[in-house]
């Protein structure tokens, strides 16, 4: 059967071109993500032994040494891993779709094979052979592309500043082996389901005139679809009740499962939706619109294949970007709502820190009611089974609670005595601490300390995980505040601008910059947005490009089998313009459908995620990156329209040459 597989790939190259391109690109994307990830692993996380370190004992008694010089590659690694997940998800989606579509377009061949005595197993082997015949060269091509682009991608990643140190392109061999292997697995898995369908084709189907789309809904599809729907719905439903840490994966994976369910269950709900969509089409363009509406409605499998990639990419990009930007928006809304201080004092130059004297002089000013200037530092914290780094700050919780709205969840609010710490609510919940329990931490370059928890504070990002007493010594380098929040007394509260000017004068404009809180938030938000946008770009741009190519190749596949249909239309007098408009309407209809379904799925998941976020004194705002998603939709439409018009044009030209040929 291998011989037949190869011949059939060669004959139906247009059908397999889609799978080939999709798989090659998928392998390339996975390869690039994997090699960038490998490059982050190749970074020596403990550059040298000269940086201060601390050795702690965890709950089991094992000694754990952490060093302040350790590079935290976790952030960039998780971004890359997410990018890999997005790529793999879209690849699986597209490959399964193109495989199934390819089989559906060749039912008659399968029937004929069965007619001349091919067993179900033989047909299956032939189909799997085809998938290998496509997948092996596609994997090789994908690896070649990845080998060329991986160094460039690492270069680009360095440009974003997401990684704490510049990455060097690492060894390519294993990432590429991994990518090629996953490509082959994806292809065979995608074809496996399709081959089952192929083996079930009855011999009499060879004799049918038309490729009827009967029974698009099979039992297996229904069961998988319902399972995905249930799984997705449960995950999404759990998201609002769980903490922020758990809500993110629940919302993301729940939405992905819902997107899968939406695709699998398409045959159930697409027909009525399409009927509704047909109404305006018929009205707008009686001939071409009607033709388009009917062809979209009757060729259910083709419609499903065209809706699939659009739905997949919009759903996954939509949910990832919206979750990220909503998280950012909620954090900054929480910060704003919690800040009571009217002024923020920063060092004049960028990136410096305030010295102790400047903070003291702020406190001395008669118009100032309270100053909080937490000095951030990293500490090592020991848990039952491990030790890790945690964000901490030297700060006075009492001052902090005046400049920010902070709730005391447990314990009492008073100045921290030596040997005590305050911890944030998130830290307490995650590691199971409460007031009175003991936290073992260590300053880098110092000895482990066992401290009693004096208070558990709920203050959003104003409260770091661990608040140490302000007079704690021993950390190297000595921590210093990056800024101070200033609460003015009641008389001056109304004229924050004037107070800012006076404070600047008092401390010296060359040393500090005093900004009203609102202005300061505006400035810091733009920085954060820039970083978020970079992360979004790394996550979504490659996968989006990929999905667009998949949209194009699926269209090429579908038009490769429509020659007869279009010839027939031309013969009964449908004009070339009407055929083109029909193609246009069809593409617009399927893209709109994909967009709508994706929007519904994303809205469901993101609403749930929004419910899991807490913002002081109100609900979390929903932040949707409309610009980016709009661009993506526009790109889908553009690619679809261009490809379908080009493909129709090609078929129309062929019709005209064929008719002149018969006349001669």
């Amino acid at each position: 059967m291998w011989r037949i597989s190869v011949q059939s790939v060669r004959h139906y190259w247009a059908l397999f071109a889609g799978t080939f391109v999709a798989l090659a690109l998928g392998v390339a994307l996975i390869g690039v993500s994997a090699s960038a990830l490998a490059a982050t692993w190749a970074v020596d996380a403990t550059p040298d032994g000269s940086t201060p370190s601390v050795t702690l004992k965890d709950g089991t008694g094992a000694a754990r040494t952490l060093s302040s010089g350790d590079l935290d590659m976790g952030g960039v690694q998780s971004v890359l891993a997410m990018a890999g997940v997005v790529s793999a998800f879209v690849t699986v989606f597209v490959i399964a779709g193109t495989c199934a579509f390819g089989i559906a377009l060749r039912r008659r061949d399968m029937g004929l094979l069965r007619l001349v005595g091919a067993g179900g197993g033989q047909v299956r082997r032939m189909v799997l052979g085809e998938s290998l015949a496509v997948a092996v060269p596609a994997a090789v091509a994908g690896c070649a592309v990845a080998a060329v682009t991986a160094p460039l991608a690492v270069e680009a990643l360095n440009g974003t500043g997401l990684s704490p140190v510049d990455l060097r392109p690492g060894p390519l061999l294993w990432p590429l082996v991994f990518a090629a292997g996953s490509g082959l697995v994806i292809a065979v898995l995608g074809m496996l389901a399709a081959s089952k369908r192929a083996a079930r084709v009855r011999p009499t189907e060879a004799l049918r005139e038309a490729d009827l789309d009967s029974r698009t809904m099979t039992a297996g599809r229904a069961v998988t679809g319902v399972l995905a729907l249930l799984g997705g719905a449960v995950m999404v439903a759990l998201a609002p009740g769980s903490g922020t840490e758990a809500a993110t994966p629940l919302a993301l994976f729940g939405t992905m499962a819902l997107a899968v369910a939406a695709t699998l269950l398409g045959p159930l709900y697409l027909p009525p939706l399409l009927r509704v969509m047909a109404l305006p089409l018929r009205w707008a363009d009686p001939v071409a619109g009607r033709l388009a509406a009917e062809s979209v409605r009757t060729s259910r499998r083709r419609t499903a294949s065209l809706v699939g990639p659009v739905l997949a990419i919009l759903a996954i990009v939509g949910v990832f970007t919206t979750v990220l930007s909503t998280t950012g928006a909620a954090t900054s809304a929480d910060d704003r709502a919690r800040t009571t201080a009217q002024l923020v004092v920063e060092p004049a130059g960028d990136g410096g820190s305030l010295d102790r004297e400047a903070v003291d002089r702020l406190r001395e000013d008669p118009r100032v009611a309270a100053v909080s200037a937490p000095a951030p530092l990293e500490i090592a914290v020991a848990g039952p089974h491990s030790a890790w780094k945690e964000q901490a700050a030297l700060a006075d919780p009492v001052a902090l609670s005046r400049t920010h709205r902070i709730t005391v969840v447990d314990g009492s609010l008073k100045p921290l005595e030596p040997g005590t710490v305050a911890i944030s609510r998130e830290f307490a919940e995650w590691y199971g601490h409460r007031a009175g329990s003991t936290v073992t931490y260590g300053l880098f370059g110092g000895e482990p300390v066992r401290a009693k928890v004096a208070a558990v504070l709920d203050g959003g990002s104003a409260v770091p995980s661990v608040v140490l007493p302000p007079d704690t010594r021993g950390a190297t380098p000595a921590p210093a505040p990056e800024r101070a929040a200033v609460l003015l007394d009641e008389r001056d509260a109304a004229s924050a601008g004037a107070a800012a000017a006076r404070l600047t004068e008092r401390l010296g404009a060359d040393r500090v910059r005093v900004l009203p809180t609102e202005t300061w938030f505006g400035r810091s938000a733009t920085d954060q947005d820039r970083l978020n946008n970079l992360v979004l770009a790394v996550l979504t741009v490659p996968a989006s490009l990929y999905a667009l190519i998949a949209v194009a190749s699926t269209l090429v596949m579908s038009y490769s089998r429509r020659g007869r249909e279009i010839t027939g239309m031309r013969m009964i007098g449908v004009s070339a313009g009407q055929v083109r408009r029909m193609a246009l309407w069809e593409t617009l209809a399927t893209t709109t459908l994909g967009t709508l379904i994706a929007a519904a799925v994303v809205a469901w998941g993101v609403r749930a995620y929004q419910g899991s976020l807490s913002v002081f004194g109100g609900g979390a705002p929903l932040s949707v990156p409309w610009g980016m998603l709009g661009t993506l939709v526009a790109a889908c439409v553009l690619v679809g329209v261009v490809v379908s018009l080009a493909a129709t044009g090609r078929l129309l030209r062929r019709v005209s040459t064929a008719s002149t040929a018969t006349r001669q």
């Binding site: 011949q7 008659r108 005595g117």
Partner: protein
């Protein structure tokens, strides 16, 4: 032309075969208790008006469709009682098909299409054997072509060559001349006739072309799912006369 008698053993024997298709107004009977034999080493034509059940009869006889009741005996095997797996084996080695169209796999060359039954049987494909079959249908020079590069008549001849290679017990042909011009149609009928006379094959053919039916050893007339008459050693005129009689 061999002498045809009912004593001659049938290659396929239908015994009281009934078949109906479901419709919104209840089951519609297509075949009613049809009993019919297709004698060995003979060409049997089945004729009848549209909707008389010709194609259903052929599909049942070939094991492509299951009768509701009755038996379909191919030699000792009751096709009506066979499972899909057994039917696959039967189709592979004991039955051949020639259809009006869609006979050939478009991705395979003419040679590969003819060799296909041998490959499916996992036998060794002997090139001489395939080329000999192609020579018999006059297409040995087209072995490397794809079906799309052949005319309808040529494609039909390739399908006949395929049945010559597989050496089935019976060949079923559904309107083999249906979509061909007269000349190609005559050529196809001569070839089918040849496979019976020279190679000693059995052919069962559905047609509504009296000229094609005239090449048969026997014509069976079907109307409303029942055998309503038969004609041995027909001429085109006799067939046409008989048809106009039944259609009156």
């Amino acid at each position: 032309m061999p002498l045809l008698t009912d004593i001659q053993l049938p290659a396929v024997q239908l015994a009281a075969v009934s078949k109906s298709y479901p419709s919104s107004a209840g089951p519609v009977p297509v075949l009613r208790e049809v009993s019919l034999g297709f004698p060995q080493r003979a060409l049997t034509a089945v004729m009848g008006p549209s909707g008389s059940g010709k194609t259903t009869l052929l599909n049942c006889a070939a094991g492509l469709d299951k009768p509701d009741t009755g038996k379909v005996l191919l030699g000792e095997t009751d096709l009506a009682a066979c499972g899909e797996r057994e039917l696959t084996v039967v189709r592979r080695s004991r039955i051949g098909f020639v259809f009006q169209q869609f006979n050939l796999l478009p991705m395979l060359t003419v040679y590969e299409n003819v060799a296909l039954p041998l490959r499916l049987q996992r036998g060794r494909v002997r090139r001489e054997r395939v080329m000999e079959a192609l020579r018999q249908v006059g297409l040995e020079d087209k072995a490397g072509r794809r079906p799309a590069q052949l005319s309808g008549g040529q494609q039909q001849r390739v399908a006949i060559a395929r049945t010559l290679v597989a050496e089935p017990e019976i060949v079923f042909a559904d309107e083999p001349t249906g979509s061909l011009d007269r000349k190609s149609g005559r050529q196809i009928m001569e070839l089918l006739r040849d496979t019976v006379d020279r190679a000693g094959r059995t052919v069962a053919m559905v047609t509504h072309d009296p000229a094609a039916a005239a090449c048969a050893d026997r014509v069976v007339f079907l109307s409303d799912g029942q055998v309503v008459g038969r004609l041995d050693h027909p001429t085109a005129e006799a067939v046409a006369r008989q048809l106009s009689l039944w259609e009156r």
